[in-house]
Every structure is written in structure tokens, then in C-alpha cells.
């Protein structure tokens, strides 16, 4: 490790700990802990959403995928962004008007049913677990590459940091870590894109011309189809990307950190601009890496292409830029895992303990203790799982998390807000059908079974042809909710009237 890398690495650690110190002083109530007291502005929350959303997978993974596979790598960028139109048009404002801390709160504004809350908590915990293992394993491998630390040490450093932020600073610390990270990440992206464009004399047509001869793919590099060759498989992936975001618990939780629906709306707008610019810039990073680092060097450093962006930084700006980009990648991982711990802890402490076991009668002090114990528990569990998962190929876990979010959570969210007839039986069947169909289909997919040894968890022929099963599991989630509802006589028109009025007007009873 060069001294600059160590200095920047330590600077980020200190900066985030200072944030946590001040946040801890302001974290007095459960509301502060889970949602920063609802006191963030639209712009702050929008930038924090970007910080929560743009994971190392986005930053390093997509830049690498574009560098290696050209257009096909860009599919992710498009899906991840357009997903925010679903959030903006259909979900964000009603969610803010109905919910308190968690997704289950929002759904239970209609039902008051333990089984609905339990099912929502189960799907939240499943999504967060998969997402977190993927992030931590990725983090371990990445820090190993960037800083030359052992895998277990890398996972431990990230794990301890995320635990400190959440345990002491709750959502206030998490939000500010995410905001700082988003700013650093955008600065890094803009500097690198500028340097790439500078090398092409700001001639974009020239850039396209040059990358045609830069990779082993030749002119095919600029055409779709290098990575995704099954048409329905591609559509399935695109479906999971565009619908999944609106069901991701750690993203949805961010909407409770602002005071009302109008601020929730402006957060999405800010987030969409930041995230959109980010994903456009992934193109310059990917092309830049293909042209100046070279296909063989990228593959040699990491077969998944994850080192494309840091290697490009080395070529463009030497050790200093490499150190800066590595530090940004580290901050990126920290911000995302902190958000995940918090949403996992809220499902355990608020939904399962506070509302189901204590029936909503836990005192403020008990709730606070529960929240902190749950954060600690979730962190330790994630670290242990990540230590065991080192040699597993976990890349598919993030797209599985998106798939479960789209199949189990989104149908229930939409039905809760918009369907008068919807009932508890429908809510439970929708969530369980979506969750289990996604899990079962993935477990028999090419992500788990591959005839080539080492390519997936087990050796064998996959029974289900697509890596991402959204094209089947999302319709199943919606159908499960539909049939579960109409096969049960239960219906509460009065309650729907209340939910509908509150969801669309933001009306709240005055205490």
C-alpha cells in the first residue's frame, strides 16, 4: 500500500467517525434512530438515496461490465435509473403518507394483522441478508485487491465500521455517511470522465470509433448481445431492475426520513438527477478503461472486471487518483452496508419485537434498546455469513434481492395503496408467493447450477433457464395477491377509505 492510499483511507474512517459522534448526540428517540426524526430536507435525502443506492456493484461492477461487454453492461445503468420513475409515480408519496419506520408499517396502515407484518418483516430480512452478503463479500475481495489486506480482515474492518455508525449514530449518522459518500463518488466520477474525454479531445464520436478496435470483440463491442444472449432472460433481468427498486426496504426506509410527501417527491427528483448523471458517466469510465487500460489487463486484475475503474484511475492520474478512487470505493461500501444494517434492524426490532411480540406496547427505552441490539445482531450475523461466503460466487445475490423486492414487496405496496378489495389474506399470499417463487426459481437456475465446475454453487444442469426469474416470479406475486384476496371474503371498505384519503392527501390526525 502506498502512503497516500493509507492517508486517504484513514481520513475517510476519521471523517465518518466524527459524523457518527455528532449524530450520536442528536439520537435521542426511536424516531431519531430509525428515521433521523423525519428531519432531512429533500435535497439531503435525495443525495442520501443516491449514496444508499449506488453500491460498489454499480461503481465498479458496471464500469467493469461496460469495459468488458460494451453495450450489454449499459443495460444495468438504464434499468437502475428508470426504476426511479416507478418510485416517483406510484410509491414514494403514498408510502411517506402511510408509513412510520418500515415497509410493514405502511402495509399495516390497512390491516393491523400480525401475519402481514410478519410476512413483510420476513421478506425485508431476506432481501437485506442477500444484499448484505453480496456487498460484504464484494467489499472483502475489493479491499483485498486495493489495499492488499487479507479477506477476513477486510470484512472485519467494514463490518466494525458499519456497526459503529448504526449502533451509535442510527439513521442520522447513516444518512450523513451516505451524503458524504455520494458527493465523493460524484467528484471521482466527474474527474475521471473529464480525463477520459480530455484524452479523446472531447470528441465523443472519436471515442466510439476508438473503442471499436480496443477490445477483443472488435466492432461487436458497440452492439448489444455480447453478454445477454437469451431474449427472455434479458427481459426478465430488465423487469427485476425496473420494478425492484420500488420494493427495496433500505431505499423505501429513506422516505420516512423527510417530513411529508412533498419532500419525499423532491428527494426522488434529486436522487434521479444524481443517479442519472452517475450512470451516464459509467459509460465514459467503461469506454475509458477499455481503451486505455485494455481488455487483457482488466481481466488479469479481476475476471469480473471489478478493477476496471481503479486501474483506469491509475492510468489517468497516477497514484494519487488511484488512491482517491480506492478510498471512494471504500466509502461507497461503508455507506451502503450501513443503510442495509439499519433496515434489517428495523424489521427485527420494530416489526418483530416491538409490534408482534410486545404488541406495540414497548416503552421508548425498550424500543431503543431493541433497535441497538438488533443492529448489533444483524451486523454480527452479516459478518459471520460473509466470512463463510468468501469462495462462493455471490454476484447473483444482488439481482436476486431486486427480484424478491419486485415479486414480494411491490405487488403488496401497489395493492395496499390502490386496490379497494385487497385484504390480509391477499397481502400474505402475495408476499409469500413472490418471495418463495423467486427463491425456488433461483435455486434451480444457472446462478446455482452450472455444468462447468466452479462457475456456480453446484455442478449440474440448471432446471430453470434464466439467472433472474423476475419474468415468472413478479406475475406470480401479483396473481398470488389477487387470488388470495378474492378467495377470502374479508374486506374493509371503511379502512380503505381512510388509507386512500391519507395516502393521497397526506391527512394526519392531530394528536
Amino acid at each position: 500500500m502506498s502512503p497516500i492510499v493509507i492517508i486517504l483511507f484513514i481520513a475517510i474512517v476519521i471523517l465518518t467517525l466524527v459524523i457518527t459522534y455528532f449524530a450520536a448526540k442528536r439520537t435521542q428517540t426511536t424516531g431519531d434512530f430509525y428515521t433521523a426524526g423525519g428531519g432531512l430536507t429533500g435535497v439531503q435525502n435525495g443525495v442520501a438515496i443516491a449514496g444508499d443506492y449506488l453500491s460498489a456493484a454499480s461503481f465498479l461492477g458496471i464500469a467493469g461490465a461496460i469495459a468488458l461487454f460494451g453495450f450489454d453492461g449499459f443495460f444495468y445503468s438504464i434499468g437502475f435509473l428508470i426504476a426511479y420513475l416507478v418510485v416517483l409515480f406510484l410509491v414514494a408519496e403514498p408510502l411517506r403518507n402511510l408509513g412510520k419506520y418500515t415497509l410493514a408499517d405502511m402495509i399495516n396502515s390497512r390491516f393491523d394483522a400480525k401475519k402481514v407484518r410478519g410476512a413483510a418483516a420476513l421478506s425485508t430480512i431476506t432481501i437485506v441478508t442477500f444484499y448484505m452478503i453480496a456487498q460484504l463479500v464484494g467489499a472483502g475481495a475489493l479491499i483485498q485487491l486495493l489495499f492488499g489486506l487479507d479477506y477476513w480482515l477486510a470484512v472485519l474492518i467494514v463490518g466494525v465500521m458499519m456497526t459503529i455508525y448504526v449502533l451509535f449514530g442510527g439513521m442520522i449518522a447513516t444518512s450523513w455517511v451516505q451524503i458524504v459518500k455520494a458527493v465523493l463518488l460524484m467528484v471521482g466520477m466527474i474527474i475521471m470522465s473529464f480525463l477520459v474525454l480530455l484524452k479523446f479531445d472531447f470528441n465523443i464520436a472519436q471515442m466510439f470509433h476508438d473503442v471499436k478496435s480496443a477490445t477483443v470483440h472488435g466492432a461487436d463491442y458497440l452492439k448489444p448481445g455480447l453478454q445477454y444472449t437469451q431474449p427472455l432472460g434479458t427481459l426478465s433481468l430488465m423487469l427485476a431492475l425496473v420494478l425492484g427498486t420500488a420494493g427495496l426496504p433500505h431505499i423505501l426506509m429513506r422516505f420516512f426520513t423527510v417530513k411529508d410527501a412533498k419532500t419525499a417527491r423532491s428527494s426522488v427528483i434529486t436522487a434521479t438527477w444524481v443517479i442519472g448523471v452517475f450512470y451516464v458517466l459509467t459509460l465514459f469510465l467503461g469506454f475509458g478503461a477499455a481503451a486505455f487500460v485494455g481488455y487483457d489487463s482488466i481481466i488479469a486484475a479481476n475476471s469480473g472486471g471489478n478493477m476496471a475503474a481503479p486501474l483506469l484511475a491509475q492510468v489517468l492520474g497516477g497514484d494519487i487518483l488511484f488512491a482517491f478512487i480506492s478510498a471512494v470505493a471504500f466509502a461507497t461500501i461503508l455507506a451502503v452496508v450501513a443503510g442495509l444494517v439499519l433496515s434489517g434492524a428495523s424489521a427485527f426490532a420494530h416489526d418483530l419485537y416491538g409490534e408482534i411480540i410486545k404488541k406495540g406496547k414497548a416503552t421508548e427505552k425498550e424500543q431503543m434498546y431493541a433497535a441497538r441490539y438488533a443492529s448489533l445482531g444483524v451486523s454480527v450475523l452479516a459478518i459471520v455469513l460473509a466470512l463463510f461466503a468468501q469462495y462462493l460466487n455471490v454476484a447473483f445475490l444482488v439481482s436476486l434481492a431486486f427480484c424478491i423486492a419486485a415479486s414480494a414487496n411491490l405487488p403488496v405496496i401497489l395493492y395496499t395503496i390502490y386496490w379497494k378489495r385487497f385484504n390480509t389474506a391477499g397481502a400474505v399470499t402475495a408476499m409469500l408467493t413472490g418471495l418463495f417463487s423467486a427463491l425456488i426459481l433461483v435455486s434451480i437456475s444457472p446462478s446455482v447450477f452450472s455444468p462447468i465446475e466452479g462457475a456456480a454453487l453446484f455442478v449440474g444442469e440448471p432446471i430453470f433457464p434464466f439467472s433472474n426469474p423476475a419474468i415468472i416470479s413478479v406475475p406470480l406475486g401479483f396473481l398470488g395477491g389477487y387470488f388470495g384476496t378474492i378467495l377470502s371474503k374479508e374486506t374493509d371498505i371503511k379502512r380503505f377509505a381512510e388509507v386512500s384519503v391519507k395516502a393521497h392527501t397526506g391527512f394526519k390526525e392531530e394528536a
Binding site: 443495460f75 438504464i78 420513475l85 399495516n108 400480525k114 452492439k223 427481459l235 442519472g276 416491538g354 390526525e509
Partner: protein, 117 residues
């Protein structure tokens, strides 16, 4: 459960809120109708526009024809997805301001406990 308690309290708080009356008021029905008329067509539009990209790249090759130099139509289409997202966001914010006014009016009327026009 906490939510249940709040729910009952709202009704027994001296001035119980009649949500059914509010939900059936013309003003609220108009708000829902206006939102639907605005959001539904745009949602259908952006989903079609979005899925058209993987459908066209998977089943046809005509997007591979050059548009500007070495930049083929598939890239133009991909970038237009970004532009569409930003344009729809901007349109939504403008339109949502009128929804806010309608919603504020309804909330005021509920608080007064009067008939919602």
C-alpha cells in the same frame, strides 16, 4: 398494536373523522381521477419505451445501423432513456403542484369537519 390504537383514537378523539365521507366527496374523487389520468398513461408510456430497448436488441438488429459516425441507433435510444426519465420527472413535479393544492383543500375541509366540495 400501536397502529390500531392510533386508528381507534382517531375515531374517538371528540371530533371523529368520517373518512368514508371524505373518500366519497367530489373533490377527493376528482383528485384520484386527475392523478390517474395523468400517471397511468405516462407509466404505460415509460414502461413500453423501456422494454422496447431490450425487445428490439434481442429480436432485431436494425438498431445496430449507424446514426452518427460510429454511434449506432441503439446508443441514441439508450441515452434517450435517460432524457425521458429527466423529462418525465420535471413534468411530474409541475403537475404534482396542482395535486398538492387539491389535497390541501381536502385536508382543510376534513379538519373543519364540513362537507367537502
Amino acid at each position: 398494536m400501536a397502529v390500531k390504537q392510533e386508528y381507534n383514537k382517531a375515531r374517538n378523539n371528540g371530533k371523529a373523522v368520517n373518512f368514508e365521507k371524505a373518500a366519497n366527496s367530489n373533490a377527493f374523487k376528482k383528485l384520484l381521477e386527475d392523478r390517474k389520468k395523468f400517471i397511468l398513461p405516462l407509466t404505460i408510456f415509460f414502461l413500453i419505451f423501456y422494454f422496447l430497448l431490450p425487445i428490439l436488441t434481442s429480436y432485431t438488429t436494425f438498431l445496430n445501423t449507424p446514426a452518427i459516425g460510429d454511434i449506432s441507433w441503439v446508443w441514441i435510444f439508450a441515452i434517450s432513456q435517460f432524457l425521458m426519465t429527466w423529462i418525465l420527472c420535471t413534468i411530474y413535479v409541475k403537475k404534482a403542484n396542482t395535486f398538492d393544492e387539491q389535497a390541501e383543500h381536502i385536508v382543510e375541509e376534513i379538519r373543519k369537519g364540513g362537507d367537502i366540495k
